[in-house]
């Protein structure tokens, strides 16, 4: 077993384990923290796949921005076991049936697919930041610049709408 393979198995194990903990954890804050761990292991997997950019974005956007948002919402809502609405037996029953139907559809869909050939990536360094930067500043230069103006104007608007006027 090479070092890459052992790293892969390790990360995969941690990812599955922590995502199971996300579901089973009683405390929502713990659950969110396990989710962060899951994201970090997934980032590791991306880097193993030579996809640097997705890995970095995954950390910045998901583990960074979105998780902070999650934490804020949970803390602001103050979710506790008592305040959580109790599910009746009927609701559970309906849930089981709906989930079961979904499972049937999924298995049917999976059964009808043919096993695909192993995908061999032609360009190994496709996901490198270097190549992405080249495309971004060559072919997609104009959209890139327009996005910056769009963000500026959206920011002006957001500040404008949120600002409190002193009379």
């Amino acid at each position: 077993m090479t070092i890459t393979q052992s790293l892969f198995y390790f990360l995969a194990f941690v990812a599955i384990f922590s995502s199971l903990l996300v579901v089973t954890a009683k405390n929502p804050i713990h659950s969110v923290l396990y989710l962060i761990l899951t994201f970090f292991t997934l980032t590791g997997e991306y880097i193993l796949l030579n996809a640097q950019f997705i890995g970095i974005v995954n950390i910045i956007v998901y583990a960074g921005a979105i998780m902070v948002l999650f934490l804020f919402v949970i803390m602001l809502l103050n979710l506790n076991v008592e305040s959580e609405p109790q599910k009746t037996n009927l609701m559970k029953f309906i849930g089981i049936i709906t989930g079961g139907i979904g499972l049937v559809v999924l298995t049917a869909a999976l059964k009808s697919t043919d096993p695909s050939n192993t995908v061999v990536i032609q360009e190994v360094d496709m996901g490198l930041v270097k190549n992405l930067g080249q495309v971004l500043f060559k072919e997609f230069l104009l959209p890139f610049e327009i996005v910056s103006i769009l963000f500026l104007s959206a920011m002006v608007g957001a500040v404008l709408l949120a600002r409190k006027e002193t009379k």
């Binding site: 080249q134 104009l142 959209p143 327009i146 103006i149 608007g157």
Partner: protein, 505 residues
């Protein structure tokens, strides 16, 4: 490393070669930043500084746009690795957008509500300029990424402008509704675009691979992807089934913004729709595109439904802005009629119609703004007996409404006539019966529109004012613009060739 230097050099050369064609857009971006800085440092000392920069800046941009007619070769130029294409048709749409932007800026200068809002006006003007920038890109876009970005650009700024009168319940509601509907529409469109990219493997809609990819898959799957993408465009031009937001937003937004929203995004949306339909129909096979019949039928059916819904709902309105909102939906139907009858004459007819529609619609909203400044109401009830008190403006209003209805001797008649004849021509060539039905519906709807448009002159002239209220003086700037627009409407009605002669592409 050497490789990199070459890439950077070629990229810089490409950009240097292209930027001259983007002069109006680059100027707009600079003026926007200039306005923000000016507002920060000098706005306290010089009154109306930002508004002055906005109006003069947009005027310079207008001249630059006009200049592009000479600059580009007849077949147009493709810029920035096929992201946008600057053609003569696109320049015409840009001219129209810039003119309406200028009129709306002048309109906003003296609007009662905007002058008294607690936020002040400076950000307002900069946002109007940025919307114009987005609209310009929308007209030129020919890449799915650019299409999405420019539409989103226009939408985000429009939401803010619609909600500009903070503290006013209606305006806030209008901005919120607009944002919610817009978010759903753009999500749907983005989904459609991702499907299109998945099917074809290219973002460039003029690329032959785009058509080939779509034509080679199941027609049903291709139609779903195309329909989802078109839904976002239909939101912008307020066509059925994406028209539900129009009345509330138009009623609540500040009147200048209503005037702007009813004209400029519609112009850009139509331009983009034409680009898109053309790309889908530009099949390589001699028998024509596989989508030709289905797009024609779809657009014809949507045109019928849109104009019928718009015109019939307008019959029951008592608020003038709401009435104009439904009339705007009706007009979208008419323009879609021209798009359904797509041909070279069809595109010219659409452009002329849009010009005429823009003149009359902005004019009508200016009159609404004028009256709103005078007696602070937009209810039809309060218009009673005003015709005698403000004769010039009221006569102009009648001219605008006659033009919107499409009766001679105004320009609206000529515009509608061109659209109808383009549709008839398409029927003669293709023999699609739905196009003929569409024309019949168009005529019926014109008659229906007569009933609600003439409620306004009826109240202005033939009804007595209920009570004598003290009235403010009318605004001179408004009167001048209104009369100039009314004269233009009459002039184009009598000599339509003066404009049509210029439009050649």
């Amino acid at each position: 490393m050497k490789n990199f230097v070459e890439i950077i050099q070629s990229s810089i050369n490409d950009t240097l070669g292209s930027w001259i064609y983007l002069l109006p857009e680059i100027s707009l971006a600079f003026i926007f930043i200039l306005m923000i800085i000016a507002d920060l440092f000098w706005a306290k000392r010089i009154k109306n500084l930002v508004a002055i920069i906005a109006v003069s800046g947009l005027f310079i941009v207008f001249l630059e746009v006009i200049d592009q007619f000479i600059l580009i070769p007849p077949q147009g130029v493709v810029l920035f690795s096929a992201m946008i294409k600057l053609s003569t048709a696109a320049i015409w749409y840009k001219v129209l957008i810039t003119i309406s932007g200028l009129l709306v800026l002048l309109f906003s200068l003296r609007d009662f509500q905007l002058r008294n809002t607690e936020k002040g006006g400076s950000e307002y003007y900069s946002l109007v300029l940025v919307v114009t920038l987005g609209l310009n890109f929308m007209v030129m876009a020919q890449n799915l990424l650019m299409i999405y970005l420019s539409i989103e650009f226009v939408s985000v700024c429009s939401y803010i402008l619609a909600a500009y009168l903070t503290g006013n319940k209606r305006s806030e509601e209008s901005g919120m509704k607009y944002a919610l509907f817009g978010a759903v529409a753009s999500a749907v469109m983005l989904y459609g675009m991702s499907l299109l990219y998945g099917f074809t493997g290219t973002l460039d809609i003029t690329n032959q691979a785009f058509y080939n990819g779509l034509a080679s898959i199941n027609l049903m799957s291709a139609s779903v992807a195309l329909l989802l993408t078109l839904a976002g465009l239909f939101f912008k031009i307020s066509a059925f089934p994406m028209q539900v937001w129009v009345p509330d937003v138009y009623e609540g937004a500040p009147t200048p913004i209503t005037a702007f929203l009813s004209v400029a995004p519609k112009v850009a949306g139509i331009a983009l729709l034409i680009t898109f339909i053309r790309a889908v129909n530009s099949g390589g096979s001699p028998s024509g595109s596989v989508f030709l019949a289905s797009t024609e039928n779809l657009l014809a059916a949507l045109a019928i439904i849109t104009m019928t819904i718009g015109n019939f709902s307008a019959l029951w309105q008592t608020n003038v802005k709401r009435l104009m909102a439904y009339s705007a939906i009706g007009h979208s139907g008419f323009i879609l009629m021209g798009v359904a009858a797509y041909s070279m004459t069809g595109q010219k007819a659409i452009l002329f119609f849009l010009f005429v529609y823009a003149l009359a619609n902005i004019g009508a909203f200016l009159v609404i703004g004028y009256f709103s400044n005078v007696f602070h109401s937009e209810e039809l009830e309060d218009y009673k007996g005003m015709g005698m008190k403000y004769p010039l403006v009221s006569v102009a209003m009648v001219i605008f409404l006659v033009s919107l209805t499409g009766l001679p001797p105004t320009a609206g008649f000529v515009g509608k006539f061109f659209i109808f004849s383009a549709a008839i021509e398409a029927y003669m060539l293709g023999g699609n019966v739905l196009l003929l039905i569409m024309v019949v519906f168009g005529v019926v709807n014109t008659v229906v529109s007569l009933f609600y448009y003439f409620k306004i002159p009826l109240n202005l002239y033939l009804r007595k004012a209920k009570t004598e209220i003290s009235l403010d003086k009318g605004n001179l700037l408004f009167s001048v613009i209104i009369i100039v627009l009314a004269l233009f409407t009459l002039f184009l009605g009598v000599f339509p060739n003066k404009l049509i002669g210029l439009i050649n592409f």
